[in-house]
């Protein structure tokens, strides 16, 4: 995973709450077995609507999404994160995220920045008054700023550490393989195994 320290880019305001993962990418777009190419499914139901924010020419090339509360609730599909990344987003800002979505973001390299709802409102106003406004997201200092708005955001320390260093989780865990083996030796014999199969 690429290290993430600071990101500067323009932003799109998504003035909706409860944008669940089915709206981020509907199930029919989850059939690919590859890791890329999911941008075609991003917000699929809204992409044909000329009034949808991402269809406005002033929001071409945005890389920060400022969304309403409860963004990414619902399904565990990491494809939602991949679709946002494939479209070009590096940061999503909201006052509340679905848990699994936020976890998946941290794994895949999308920064999910948690802020107070009034910060979201201020960012919306700032962006809408000038869509060219550059938004700076500083992971080192956990701050987001745009125009006159400057605010801290929350992210758990461990995800921040991993993003800053671009670390591979599996690699970290495998460095503790001895501890996993030691734990396995203590598992009770009544715990079930899938193999051999019993019917």
């Amino acid at each position: 995973m690429e290290a993430f320290t600071q990101h500067i880019g323009t932003a799109a305001p998504l003035r909706r709450s409860n944008v669940d993962t089915d709206q981020i990418i509907p199930a029919v777009y989850l059939k690919r077995v590859t890791r890329t190419g999911f941008e075609d499914g991003l917000f699929a139901a809204w992409r044909n609507d000329p009034s949808f924010v991402l269809n406005q020419p002033e929001y071409d090339g945005v890389s920060v999404l400022v969304a309403g509360p409860d963004f990414g609730t619902g399904s565990s599909r990491e494809h939602a994160v991949w679709a946002l990344l494939d479209y070009g987003f590096r940061v999503v800002v909201s006052s509340r995220f679905g848990d699994i979505f936020r976890g998946n973001s941290g794994k895949a390299g999308l920064l999910a920045a948690l802020v107070e709802q009034d910060v979201v409102e201020q960012l919306w106003t700032t962006i809408e008054s000038d869509p060219g406004t550059k938004v700076t997201v500083d992971l080192e200092n956990k701050t987001i700023s745009a125009g006159d708005v400057s605010a801290p955001f929350e992210i758990d320390d461990y995800t921040r550490y991993r993003l800053l260093n671009g670390l591979d989780d599996v690699g970290i865990t495998l460095s503790h393989a001895d501890e996993i083996t030691a734990y396995e030796a203590t598992r009770p014999s009544f715990k079930p195994a899938t193999l051999p199969a019993k019917a």
């Binding site: 890791r35 609730t73 494809h79 699994i100 989780d169 503790h176 014999s189 899938t194």
Partner: protein, 474 residues
Amino acid sequence: MGRTLSEKVWDAHVVRHADGEPDLLYIDLHLVHEVTSPQAFDGLRLAGRGVRRPDLTIATEDHNVPTFDVDKPIADPVSRTQVDTLRKNAEEFGIRIHTLGDPDQGVVHVIGPQLGLTQPGMTVVCGDSHTSTHGAFGAIAFGIGTSEVEHVLATQTLMQARPKTMAVTVDGVLPDGVSAKDLVLALIAQVGTGGGQGYIVEYRGEAIRALSMEARMTICNMSIEWGAKAGMIAPDETTFAYLQDKPHAPQGVDWEAAVEYWKSLATDEDATFDREVVLRAEDIAPFVTWGTNPGQGIPLSESVPSPDDFDNENDKVAAERALEYMGLTAGTPMREIHVDTVFLGSCTNGRIEDLRAAAGVLAGRKVAEGTRMLVVPGSGRVRLQAEAEGLDTIFKDAGAEWRGAGCSMCLGMNPDQLAPGERSASTSNRNFEGRQGKGGRTHLVSPLVAAATAVTGTLAAPADLPPVAVPANA
């Protein structure tokens, strides 16, 4: 100080704890399906890694499989590739798989319990948010993304921050005709879709204890719909009786040891929860959703709410949008809403008791003209059991379609989808915009309400139906 059920199970799975880091948690059972696993297996191959514990891993195909003509090759080539990819990965990595046509093929969350692989005190994960279903056995069970699927395949562990604890206590006795689905929909309407965020929830109290295992699974299944990390119910005699004759239940002395351990998992008397919610079972009635998230629900006896009924500005805007999407007018009695399609199935309500409940309503009755009903058993074994009991005949005689096992119209990934503007009464778990097909409109309901709705063609409970006519010469 005493510990809660979830704390006991969590503590028993910590491989490594370090301050300032998430715990490294051991995973007892990993369920795998075709949609969220291909990129994880690719990741293993790229890094030259294997599956650490194929014997704690099991795969089935459910999300993207058809529910008819299952003996023929899958028609959609992209879906076929995804299913074939899972089969190839299972073979390459030595993972047990149940494919179309096998009795143990079906929705992952129906398969684990039916095989007896889901047991109390375990940690269970799957690349699917409704993994919370398995919490009904007193397991910590939660959904994970594909990166985490890869992590579990490679290490049989996950890094997880310890969640807070919450108790949802349901006192009293559920009224007749009110089911687990109504209970959980009423709960979500009260606490909101984000109300459980950051918590492992323990459902407890008299009304929960009285529920069957399958009803408990319905409750725990919907935990994710109010944002909880997981939902759990303490194992008891109901749990042990359910497990006893399942294929992978412990045998002999192992059974004795297991039951003794399982009994020790109950929350201690002096344990405290970070948050508590109390509901009275007597207050709960048949419940349906009117909007586009599972928290937008009301009793069936009420009318479509108005955005002005909500104080919070976000809720007001969300309600306006939901009514527009759903094509509903405030003030319309819920019972007057016409339904095009009734879907009975899913990991929420696709088990044998759900099918029996619906068949009990449909026996001697017909699905209304202008309404279609799809019955999709949760697994091949549920289908076989239903056929052994003659339930398939009841459904077919009523005019419903009797299908093969899978996720089907719950998520609209296979050919079972709503057309734009079409309205469903669905026993599934999500009424999100477009969930069951682009432009489709979903009302979440219990199996009893689903069956009664099929008969009237409008949202209804069994109590609304006239008695079944008895032939004059009987």
